[in-house]
């Protein structure tokens, strides 16, 4: 890949012009005062607007119907995941981080577990790796289907919303069968996964893979070729590659500008270098490209899952390292040592060598990174999650500048932010 020039001065100037940098007090003053010579108005959108995907508030500087500057205001949901994570052991960590991104919880668990494993210097068995891949792709499927639903809802295509939820429910049913929960799974843990795949999982997944593609064709018929849909999305919220790189944006937003960057292919983790798939890219960097990318990524995920089904190896689903893995349930009944060992692991946790590590995975929203500093104890000294939604939200002012208020709804929707991850 050719190395791209860094953001030019023009891009930075455009950046400075798009972001509203007023405190709330200043904005309130401006809102009350006589507009005078500048005919602009500060308008608040949210924090409970249905199309803000949760508690996101936008301060918009409007000139008539046109958005000039935007300030996204977050923090209404601040859950303190990072502070809480410092008080939980490494074994309890996934329980915490999984609550962050409630549309794709398995990716948070995966990033946390991979970072912990990096610090421990352990490698999980092949079956665990492939189970993790299967779960990631199923979760990407459900997350993108949720995007299809909410994107349709935001733009008034209510039948799309119903269809998206319907297919997502099918995916969640499989996740529930495997992990026991529809969301907040706590399934991927340091050292492997919590349990082996249940009986009949292959049939369920195959059934899902047969079910989804015809439904995607329905979406295509319903949405992709529809003139109103295209009118609402094409050319709206345009962003360039340079801006995306300067703003640290990753995931479908970066790919929609025609820049093929996908961690699964470019910095492979798990066994993504052993499966065959395409990185979907757009051309114009507008809302329609972002919609089309997610639609086609569902197809790519289905391709990956088919290969995972073919290649799923047998063996252990978690590492047979007594340090991090509790003994099997049957052993506890017959051995006092196993009971003590089990008790120690779940009360005290396991010690992780001192050091710091950063590992990132490609979540449906972009690079989800986890940075852990360990002081040698059983709890992370510092746990930081680089949430893709948090960083991607900064593209909103640039995409909205010069657009209409009605476009704002389409643009927020195309960023697909999950507020739990923004205010982690």
């Amino acid at each position: 890949m050719a190395s791209r020039a860094r953001a030019s001065a023009t891009e930075r100037l455009r950046e400075l012009g798009a972001v509203l940098r007023l405190s709330e007090a200043e904005a309130a003053e401006l809102g009350q005062a006589d507009p005078g010579d500048d005919q602009t108005m500060i308008m608040n959108m949210g924090p409970q607007h249905p199309s803000t995907h949760g508690v996101l508030r936008l301060m918009l500087e409007m000139e008539g119907e046109t958005v000039l500057r935007t300030k996204p205001i977050i923090g209404y949901l601040h859950t303190g995941m990072e502070k809480t994570g410092e008080d939980l052991t490494f074994l309890q960590g996934p329980t915490n981080v999984t609550r962050m991104d409630y549309a794709s919880p398995l990716f948070s668990e995966l990033a946390f577990s991979l970072t912990t494993e990096k610090l421990l210097g352990i490698e999980v068995p092949p079956r665990a790796v492939w189970i993790r891949m299967l779960m990631s792709e199923l979760n990407r499927l459900s997350s993108h289907l949720l995007f299809m639903a909410t994107n349709g809802m935001d733009l008034g295509a209510v039948s799309m919303m119903i269809y998206g939820w319907r297919e997502r429910e099918e995916t969640l049913r499989i996740l529930e069968k495997i992990t026991g929960l529809r969301m907040n799974h706590n399934y991927i843990r340091p050292g492997g996964v919590a349990a082996d795949l249940p009986d009949g999982w292959r049939d369920d997944v195959l059934h899902l893979l047969d079910l989804i593609p015809p439904r995607l064709e329905e979406y295509d018929t319903l949405m992709t070729g529809q003139p109103i849909w295209r009118e609402r999305l094409q050319g709206v919220g345009v962003i360039t590659t340079e801006e995306c790189l300067a703003l640290g944006t990753t995931g479908p937003i970066l790919r929609s500008t025609g820049y093929a960057w996908d961690l699964r292919r470019d910095l492979p983790y798990l066994a993504y270098d052993e499966v065959d798939f395409d990185v979907v890219i757009g051309t114009y960097g507008d809302c329609f490209d972002r919609y089309a990318i997610r639609l086609n990524e569902i197809r790519e995920s289905i391709r990956i899952i088919h290969q995972v089904l073919d290649k799923m190896p047998l063996g252990d689903y978690r590492i047979q390292d007594k340090k991090v893995t509790p003994p099997p349930r049957a052993r506890i009944d017959e051995s006092m040592e196993a009971l003590i060992h089990h008790f120690k692991i779940f009360t005290e946790g396991f010690k992780v060598p001192e050091g710091e590590a950063y590992v990132a995975v490609e979540s449906p929203r972009g690079e989800l990174g986890c940075y852990i500093v360990s002081d040698g104890s059983s709890k992370p000294y510092r746990m930081h999650i680089r949430g893709p939604s948090f960083v991607n939200l900064q593209t909103l002012p640039h995409m909205m500048r010069g657009g209409l208020l009605a476009d704002a709804v389409a643009i927020i929707s195309s960023v697909d932010p999950i507020m739990g991850e923004v205010d982690r």
Binding site: M1, A2, S3, R4, A5, R6, A7, R12, E15, L16, V19, R21, S23, E24, I74, G75, H78, G80, E82, K83, T84, D87, T115, K118, L119, G121, L245, A246, L247, G248, T249, T250, W261, D266, L267, P353, E354, G355, E356, A357, Y358, V359, A360, E367, G369, Y371, V373, D375, G376, Y381, R382, H384, R386, F390, V391, L393, Q394, D423
Partner: protein
Amino acid sequence: MADADDTTADETASDEVVAEPERLHGALVTSGPDGLVVLHPSRDELVAVVTALGEDGFHQCLDVTGVDYLRHPGRAELPDEITPERFEVVVHLMSHAERRRIRLRVQVPADDATVPSLFDLHPGVEAMERETFDMFGIVFDGHPDLTRILMPEEWVGHPLRKDYAIGAIPVQFKGAPAAR
């Protein structure tokens, strides 16, 4: 890539390549447990090092965060020449052409918790630096809008500091008379 401008040779070591501390753009280089190259620039060098790295192809800043080392027992992984301070600002840069990341760790003393902002080089650090300011109280010099981002504007204290207790917020309406 490492230009050895530190000329003090270690007499005890026979191999001088080992004795010279490795440097990249003037910053000491170590290796992290996750295999990443870690740079340890001082606060004054930070902007110059990130600029030079940008010319090397590290053109995307993916993460800026802070760490409070108040209660950390020891800091074994720091090179000898670096004085450990209470705070540390950690920056992750990415080179798409080389397909690798690099980590920068900047020591920030508690009595003068100020770091130059990277906003002019990477506008995307705006939210991340605001978050670090909000959570740790580290001031980013040159940031255009350094206000709280996750906590309310009138909040007192910086929650991710190690001397900020968990559960210090009194529970509202606790013990309120029941309806019946």
